[in-house]
Subunit: 332 residues, 2 copies
């Protein structure tokens, strides 16, 4: 089967939102009046962002999810995306489930596949996603990294650290009971982009970022671009590892087989969480709770923005904890 047949069979569907979809040199899209476009591009490489053994359906989901997560972090509403795909060979048995997983998530968010490229090469998935952000009275409603102010609360959505736990199990560095691993693996392989929360936080949050490289590293981007510092409660973040409760429950205690430092490291710098990390003024606590409720997304307050530069970690008693947690770097 040739390149063009492959594209037609698995990816071509009638254009909906697009004035012109797949099949010409360019896709044509008509921006809605009074909106700005939010654009993000992510590349996923086998062996670096996913294991070669991953179910292609789940990989299709994840490839789009990590891009939608960037839109969520900007408070942008998904509109469309392009897909560029390098494949070792034109393998139907891989393409069929991959496109199903991808398009199921796309349909859920009404985000239309409008074009792209297919070529031969080591497996590589590059998605570029487009979202809309309203401009009201000349002001963009986008959530940026640069808006955090001293005194703001720091929040994180959902759970963190589970994707990293699953990766460590795959790597063989730790072992956990099967149900604990299954739950963590789901978080690694099929993250949920927090699109609805991002939309609900427009006008409520002062800054936002999605956690891809690790909570502290991504918080560092907010601090740098906002010119502020922060204090984060370590225990509050560690308790956000979904697998932790089931792990300690299954063993009757938080035993020493997996040291506390490991749990801390996975929660604070594990990466691959695709949760939203955001800040909001104390006066907006009720509004944040309402945004969480409205988007059916749990959020947890984990610390405070401060004028004093730097990132400080404290334990449950407010005592300083050393920060040995480095952010994920693809070339480190």
């Amino acid at each position: 089967m040739g390149e063009f047949d492959l594209i037609e069979r698995h990816f071509k569907r009638p254009a909906r939102r697009a004035a012109l979809g797949i099949g010409d040199d360019c896709a044509l899209l008509q921006p809605a009046p009074g909106t700005q476009w939010a654009i993000s591009s992510d590349m996923l490489v086998e062996g670096h962002h996913f294991l070669s053994t991953v179910d292609p359906f789940k990989l299709g989901h994840k490839a789009l999810a990590v891009n939608l997560s960037d839109l969520a972090a900007c408070g942008a509403k998904p509109v469309a995306f392009t897909l560029a795909l390098a494949l070792p060979r034109a393998d139907e048995a891989w393409l069929a489930p991959f496109s199903k997983g991808l398009l199921a998530l796309a349909d859920h968010h009404r985000c239309e596949l409008v074009g792209g490229d297919t070529t031969q090469g080591p497996l590589n998935i590059c998605i570029t996603v487009f979202g809309e952000v309203p401009v009201v009275g000349g002001r963009s409603q986008a959530l940026l990294r640069s808006g955090a102010r001293a005194g703001d609360d720091i929040y994180v959505s959902g759970t963190v650290g589970d994707a990293r736990l699953a990766l460590e199990v795959f790597r063989g560095t730790v072992s956990v009971p099967a149900p604990v691993f299954d739950a963590a693996r789901l978080r690694m392989e099929q993250p949920t982009p927090r699109v609805a929360l991002g939309l609900a936080l427009r006008g409520v949050a002062t800054s936002a970022i999605d956690i891809s490289d690790g909570l502290l590293g991504d918080l560092g981007h907010i601090l740098k671009q906002s010119g502020v510092g922060a204090t984060v409660e370590v225990a509050t973040v560690v308790n956000l590892i979904a697998a932790l409760a089931s792990y300690t429950g299954s063993r009757g205690s938080f035993d020493a087989e997996i040291p506390a430092q490991d749990w801390q490291r996975w929660a604070l710098s594990g990466g691959d969480d695709y949760e939203l990390l955001f800040t909001a003024p104390v006066a907006h606590r009720a509004a944040v709770a309402q945004a969480a409720e409205q988007s059916q997304t749990p959020v947890t307050r984990i610390g405070q923005i401060e004028a004093h530069r730097g990132l400080r970690l404290v334990d449950a008693q407010g005592q300083a904890v050393a920060n040995n947690f480095t952010s994920f770097d693809h070339f480190a």
Copy 2:
């Protein structure tokens, strides 16, 4: 040097057209009123789209050029692009010239780098480009593949076949004198996207496509989507190989060392030309000449669109020539 430092050093520049450029989860762009967005995405893989020995400066140029060529084929004005890059290692000696070649062409077309991704992996370059097309009286001015009508002239810009000749020399299947090779190699490594011609053809051409997979194959897309057929004069197209004149000149004759069929194949189905193939009514011949003049781009009439489906080749005497020329397929 870490991932973030690399990006900052080589790719981050102050945002111009973008409301927000590199360095947040998304770039933000404000579409101009009364315009549609043309979007295209192309992925270049080492060993498939370029040789590992290519000068990184030229590769940077080409990676953007092939995308700008898609905008040109739609008559869209370049605005911005994203770059996703997988690299085996963070190699300054490669990144510095690559970014120079890329940004030099971007600056020439005032096309702003607004975001992207850098990761480790087998060398892969994925660019997504955005252009503007005016909408006049509710009608998009974009050039599509579907607008060719029986009786239209068929034109091609510039030269064709040289990129394929250079590739064959690299592969060792033919040899030509050094100056002939150098000119052909320039066409392969640094194609010129016909952006100005594409803009000038709005309202003049009835359909357009850029030649990436081979002239006849790409013409086939126009014929299929327009529901028409065509006759193409083979000799006219073969004469568009820039290297042909210098080759025959250097040898004193069009000798048999490279058979005529090879020259025909390179011109008609060589691919990687990034010239515009377009159609226009006979009544627009003067307007086409003016568009060519205005954009300083040579164009040549190579055949005619016909109601009778199918693609027919003829020689200089109008006699039928067998069509054994297949289009390039990345999985063939």
